[in-house]
Each structure stands twice: as structure tokens, then as C-alpha cells.
Assembly symmetry: C2
Homo-oligomer: 208 residues x 2
DNA sequence: TCCGAAGGTGAGCGACCGCTTAGCGCACCC
DNA sequence: GGGTGCGCTAAGCGGTCGCTCACCTTCGGA
């Protein structure tokens, strides 16, 4: 069951589902390199070097450099969506569910900010097919947040004049955490999550 | 005086201050290319081609490809900061000034989203010296917004438990507009500005 | 004991990169 | 009207890129 939990998108050791071991090491190396320098500025020699292998070894496990990005993006989006959904589908008032969703979504973007940075900002480097697949996942993320806000409005808990616009702003706020979050900075992922949950409840005019 | 207004950071024709004409055409071409594909994925041949010139022509006006990015980033930050400051330094209550600042800052990030995308997301491609210069400009942007919020708290207009954190969130929200804004989308820059000004007033708990 | 698949390496191919250089056309000026 | 300098081009240099290929090692099973 513990393996199922990991592949289901828990916050346990990341990339645990990627096998064999060499393929996982290459993928982790690629995440670090892409996050530091960007996809296009990263060379396959750099990725292989970080994983302690020769440049040619990369092509035993992945067909192209783009396939690496695609796998990273796919797994990252799956995990982020699963985290968001588990809060969105829980019991409780709309305010509780929205706060939980934002808290855990932001915590993930802060704690896994290297992964999140690649996942959120390197979409354009993907080919059309891969990009379409990822965009579909993002629409489901949007739908999950919009669903909570709509529930809150229907229940009279929230005051939101523009539901789609507010949904967009909430998600934008959470996602951008990956851009500015710094491990050496003054805030822990938990603290940012708590701050943002409060701010988002204010944005939707939650009765308090 | 009209030239002075443009160089002062107005929203009039962008890049009007860049001369001679060929240098401006190259710079505009670079903004488009960098925004579409990213700095590292853009070739000097592509930039020159968009400007209707041969690859070598670029090096008559700019020493390196990085100097182009530096100039774009510098001018863009100057303009964004000037827009923010003119709202921050105006007369009025803190709530009015904050709403004005967010409205105009967001409007710029939406209307000039190609420029803003380069300015906000390609910082890492700059060398250490150029990056340090830009980071200093960003600190002044942060200070301008924090100043308004502190004024509002001191005047009893706002209810903000964490001023630095809220400042960060407000700026993050505005800046990320450049990432998702789409000219073919359902919202005009003015509409996004109005929506965001309202959301930010809610975030700071403005009495209304 | 030998075999074949799986996983790895060193060398290198063809393409394309940022950038340079030699030289050309043309407005301008004494 | 012949120099002069500026803006630009054609050609190409050295280097690095993504990726391939021939070959090597390791190891479980017949």
C-alpha cells in the first residue's frame, strides 16, 4: 500500500515510481539542471554528468532530451493535481476545503520548487502532442479549484463577483510560488502555505 | 516634452527611446523572439531575420546577444517601476493608491506581456553584474508596494498580519499575469487590472 | 561452460551555435 | 568629384550541441 500511496501522488520520496535506478538518477539530475538553467540551456552531457554516467547512457533510458522533460512534466502535474484533489474532495465547508487545497498546493510548490519550476515554466519546450496532454491536466486543476469556489458561492459562504477570474488569480498566485521560493529564505513551505491560505480566503470574501 | 514623457516610462509607443532605427528594430525583434521561445532557444540569426537583416548586422549595434537581453530587461524594469511609482506617490488614501498601483502595474504586464515575459522570466540568463543591477530595481519595486501597505496599516485602513509576506504575494500575483495573459483570451488588460485591484484590496482587508 | 540480453562506455558525426572579418555600396563634404 | 566613414552583407571560424555506433562488461539461466 505504501507504494500505491507514492504513485498516487503523496508527498513521500519523489520519483520513487521511476525505475530502474539509473533511469531515476538521470531524471532527478535532469530536474535539477532544468530548474537551475532552463531546458534549452541544459546539455545532455550535463545531465549525464550529474547522474555519474557518460553522455551516451542517457539514450538507453530515454529516446530524446525532450522525453525527459515530458516525463518530468507529466509526473509533476499528476502529483500536483492529486494533492489538490484530495483536499478538494474532502469533507467540510467550502472555506475549509479551499484553505486546505491552497495550503497543500502551495506547500508542494515551495518544498518541491525545483520540480515545480520545471513543470510550470518549461511547458513551451514540449512538442505539440505532449503539450496538449499537459494542458488537459491543467484544465482539471483549474476545474478543481473552481468547483470549491462555486460551492462556496452557492452555499453563501463566499462573495465572488467573477468566479473564473478569481479561480485564475488563486491558481496563478499558488503557482508563482515556485518562481520566487528560496530554501535559504525566511519562510518554510508550511508558513507560506498558511499565509497563502489566509490570503485566498480573503480574496473570496469568506465569512469568518 | 513628448520625448521626455516616453523615456520617463509612459505607456506610449514602447522602445521609442531606442535609436537608431535599426537598433530598435533589432531590439523589438529580440523581445518577440525571447518571449516566444526563451532566451537560450533564440538564435541571433532568428533575431536578425525578424528585423530583416543579416546575422552580422546585430553586432554593429550590440556587442553580444546578452547585451540585447540586458537592455530589454533594464528598459522594461525602469518602465514598470515608473508606472508603479507614479501611482504610489500620488495623492489619496492608501486604498486608492494601492488600487491604482495594482491596476496600472497589471495593465502594463497584460498589454506588454511579451516584454514583461522576457523581463520577469529571463533574469537568470544575465551575467552576475547585469543581474545584480536588475535585482536592485526589483527591490525598489518591492519597497514601493510595501510602502503603500505600511501606510494603510498605520492609518488603520488595512488589516495585514504579515506585511512583507503580503507584499510578496501582491507582487507575485501581478507579475504572473505576464505568464498567462493571452491577447485572444476573454479579458482585456483593463479588465484584468480592475479585477486584480479589487482582489488585492480584499487581501489587505481594506475597509470598504 | 557457454550464451544472450541488458546496461554501460569512448569516440565521433553532422548540424548549428555565437561571433568575426574582409569588403561593398552609398550618403556626405571639402 | 574623389576621398571618407558608416551601415551592412557574404562567408566562414572554432566550438558545442543532440545524438549514434561499435564495442565492452556483467550476470542469470540452460
Amino acid at each position: 500500500m505504501s507504494t500505491a500511496e507514492e504513485t498516487a501522488g503523496g508527498e513521500g520520496r519523489p520519483w520513487g515510481e521511476v525505475t530502474p535506478d539509473a533511469a531515476r538518477r538521470l531524471l532527478v539530475a535532469a530536474v535539477e539542471a532544468f530548474a537551475e538553467r532552463g531546458y534549452h540551456a541544459t546539455t545532455t552531457r550535463d545531465i549525464a554528468g550529474r547522474a555519474g554516467m557518460s553522455p551516451a547512457a542517457l539514450y538507453i533510458h530515454y529516446k530524446t532530451k525532450e522525453e525527459l522533460l515530458h516525463r518530468i512534466s507529466r509526473i509533476g502535474h499528476d502529483r500536483a493535481l492529486a494533492i489538490l484533489r484530495s483536499a478538494a474532495d474532502a469533507e467540510g465547508t467550502a472555506a475549509e476545503r479551499l484553505a486546505d487545497a491552497v495550503r497543500s498546493f502551495v506547500r508542494w510548490h515551495a518544498a518541491q520548487h525545483t520540480t515545480a519550476r520545471v513543470v510550470q515554466y518549461e511547458l513551451d519546450a514540449l512538442g505539440p502532442d505532449a503539450r496538449a496532454e499537459i494542458v488537459a491536466l491543467r484544465r482539471r486543476t483549474d476545474a478543481a479549484v473552481r468547483g470549491i469556489i462555486e460551492d462556496g458561492v452557492a452555499a453563501g459562504e463566499f462573495d465572488v463577483p467573477d468566479v473564473p477570474g478569481t479561480t485564475l488569480a488563486v491558481l496563478s498566485l499558488c503557482i508563482d510560488v515556485a518562481r520566487w521560493f528560496n530554501v535559504d529564505g525566511p519562510r518554510t513551505p508550511d508558513e507560506v502555505g498558511a499565509l497563502y491560505a489566509d490570503l485566498v480566503l480573503r480574496m473570496v470574501g469568506a465569512k469568518r
